[in-house]
Every structure is written in structure tokens, then in C-alpha cells.
């Protein structure tokens, strides 16, 4: 839903890094986008293609690493991946739940020439 600022930020991060090491081209970009980050990779791809057009990142492949949501039950301490938006402990069926991971939103690395 909020991919545009995310995509703009990805582009500015990689261009800035590329500049400091004087790269001539960015070939690929590895992203870590957790399931709970609310970012849809397909949207990012379309926007990136448009935004990067006249930059050294044009045509770069986006590689999405998408860690699944991991939740912990505060009652029985089970750690599990939820079934969609239904956050209920599969072990004790309680809804006393906290997020362990899945909100990641990082540029991990890039391949440059």
C-alpha cells in the first residue's frame, strides 16, 4: 500500500552507495522485505522500473528475500507462522500474541560494476 516512498528510498540508498564506491552500473539489488512489512514486491518492481530509468540502476534486477511472519504466544511460548491474518496460537488457541519477526524492510546488498 505504501510502496512509492519505499521504492524511492531504495533507489536513493543504492544510488548514494554506488556513488561512494564510484560504481558505473548497478546490476542487482537484494532486498529483505518481511511478510508483515505491508510492502508488495510486484508494486515495487513496477515503480522501480519507472523511477530508475535514467540512472545507473536502470534495468537492475530486484531480488526479494521475504521472511515470513513469526509470532510468539505469550501464554504457552509457542513460536509459529500465522495462517493469514488470523493470529491465533495453533497450540493453545490463545490470542495473546507478539510479533517475533516479519517486519523487516532492508536493502541488504547490491551487485555493481
Amino acid at each position: 500500500m505504501h510502496e512509492l516512498p519505499v521504492t524511492m528510498s531504495i533507489l536513493s540508498i543504492v544510488l548514494e552507495q554506488a556513488k561512494t564506491v564510484q560504481a558505473s552500473r548497478i546490476k542487482s539489488i537484494s532486498l529483505k522485505i518481511g511478510e508483515l512489512s505491508g510492502v508488495v514486491p510486484e508494486y515495487v518492481e513496477t515503480q522501480f522500473e519507472f523511477l530508475s530509468k535514467d540512472t545507473i540502476a536502470a534495468g537492475a534486477a530486484l531480488v526479494f528475500n521475504q521472511p515470513p511472519a513469526r509470532l510468539r504466544c505469550r501464554v504457552c511460548a509457542s513460536v509459529f507462522s500465522p495462517n493469514g491474518q488470523n493470529w491465533v496460537c495453533p497450540n493453545c488457541h490463545d490470542r495473546n500474541i507478539e510479533i517475533v519477526s516479519g517486519r523487516e524492510c532492508f536493502v541488504e546488498s547490491m551487485e555493481i560494476e
Binding site: S12, G38, E98, I112
Partner: protein, 226 residues
């Protein structure tokens, strides 16, 4: 040409977070309690703010930042109450970010404000990801929307400081189960405060106002940084 791999590990929303931290510092210095109000469209954010302006008169000086996709209908209503207000329009946008708040702060008489409401864009998804520099996050869930909101939009509710259940005057006409709603919210967020309110009947508003006054007092009493 040789291909090299460069490790970056940079938070994509880091720029927003840095800007938000700056806003928060500024608001702390000015001792302005800032509340980010989020909900679906139509849950009653503006009505609630208007009630607070009236209810807190003589106790806290209120200022408002209005975020909307279009129009300044909400800002006009606030302005009529004689309260400083800035309208932010983001056509097609789904949330406010820290940058927009910084510009809005530059256009508000900060010396004349004790309590700043930021009315976020009506949306239960994106605003959760964007820190604005606020002190507290308040979510409104109106009873006609149903008691399953925390089950359908869990992320939003995990980070709320307060959940206001609005339009409780309609409860006799609805199947809204308050217990079911409470369970959904406190399961995700055990420390949250839940206030059932109605701006129509005034029910619960005193509790909400007292909470705001206490928070503002606490902020004022914080020792100044050297």
C-alpha cells in the same frame, strides 16, 4: 567489467525515522504533547478532535494537523473553533510521513500549543509503518465497523497506546461484542488503554480528556535537557 557485491544493510524507512526523531525532539523541547490519530475513514477522528477542542478549553491549548487525500473540509471545521490548524493534502497518498509533519510544524504557532493532534489519513494499514515523531498513537475503531477490526488489521493495533471505541451510542442497534473486541486488542497489545466513547452522548469523553491532561502534565514535568 568485474562485478562486485556491496553489503548495505540499510533500513529502507530509516530516512523517515531519523526525521521523526528530529520532530519528536522539537516537540519535546516545546513541551507539546503530540497524538497521532489513526483509523479507517469515517470512524470519527475529526468529530473527536472537535469535541476535545471544546472539552479541553481552559485546560490545554490545542493545535491540529489535518491529513487528507483531498479538500480542507476538516481543517475548516477546526479553524471555526479558533484553533491553529494546518491542512496537508496528499492526492492519492495513503499516510502522512515525518517530512510532511516537519513542514506543518514550521507553519504552526508552536508557542501557543500544549496538545497537538495529528489526524492521519483514514487507513488501517500504511500509517502504522510511518513514525511521525508523535508521543502517543491513538486508534479509533467505530462500533459500526464491527468488533473484528483487531483480528483483521492486527499490526495497527500492536503499536497503539490508546484505542478509542467510538459511536458506542449505536451499540443497542449493532452486533458489536465489546468482549470480543477487547480480547482481540489486548491479546496483541496487553498494555493498551481502551476507552469506549460517544461524541453524541458524551459518554466516556471525560476519561479520554483526563488521560490527555495527565500525559500533557507528565511531558511538562520532564526535566529540561541541558
Amino acid at each position: 567489467m568485474e562485478v562486485k557485491v556491496l553489503t548495505i544493510k540499510e533500513d529502507i524507512l530509516g530516512v523517515n525515522e531519523k526525521k521523526a526523531a528530529k520532530n519528536r525532539e522539537r516537540l519535546n523541547e516545546q513541551r507539546i504533547l503530540t497524538i497521532n490519530i489513526m483509523s479507517s475513514p469515517g470512524a470519527g477522528k475529526t468529530s473527536l478532535i472537535l469535541q476535545a477542542i471544546t472539552g479541553l478549553k481552559g485546560k490545554l491549548r490545542v493545535g491540529v494537523i489535518e491529513g487528507d487525500v483531498a479538500s480542507q473540509v476538516d481543517a475548516d471545521k477546526v479553524h471555526e473553533r479558533g484553533v491553529p490548524v494546518v491542512q496537508i493534502n496528499i492526492p492519492g497518498g495513503c499516510h502522512l510521513d515525518a517530512n510532511m509533519i516537519e513542514s506543518a510544524l514550521n507553519n504552526l504557532p508552536l508557542n501557543e500549543i500544549d496538545l497537538l493532534f495529528i489526524e492521519n489519513v483514514g487507513n488501517l494499514i500504511c500509517p502504522a509503518e510511518f513514525d511521525l515523531g508523535e508521543h502517543k498513537r491513538v486508534i479509533l475503531a467505530s462500533t459500526p465497523e464491527g468488533d473484528d477490526k483487531p483480528y483483521k488489521y492486527p499490526l495497527m493495533f500492536t503499536e497503539a497506546d490508546v484505542v478509542l471505541v467510538t459511536k458506542v451510542d449505536l451499540l443497542p442497534h449493532l452486533d458489536f461484542q465489546m468482549d470480543h473486541f477487547h480480547k482481540g486488542v489486548t491479546g496483541l497489545n496487553p498494555d493498551v488503554k481502551i476507552f469506549p466513547v460517544s461524541v453524541k452522548t458524551g459518554e466516556g469523553l471525560d476519561q479520554w480528556f483526563s488521560w490527555l491532561i495527565d500525559q500533557a502534565k507528565e511531558l511538562k514535568a520532564r526535566p529540561a535537557r541541558r
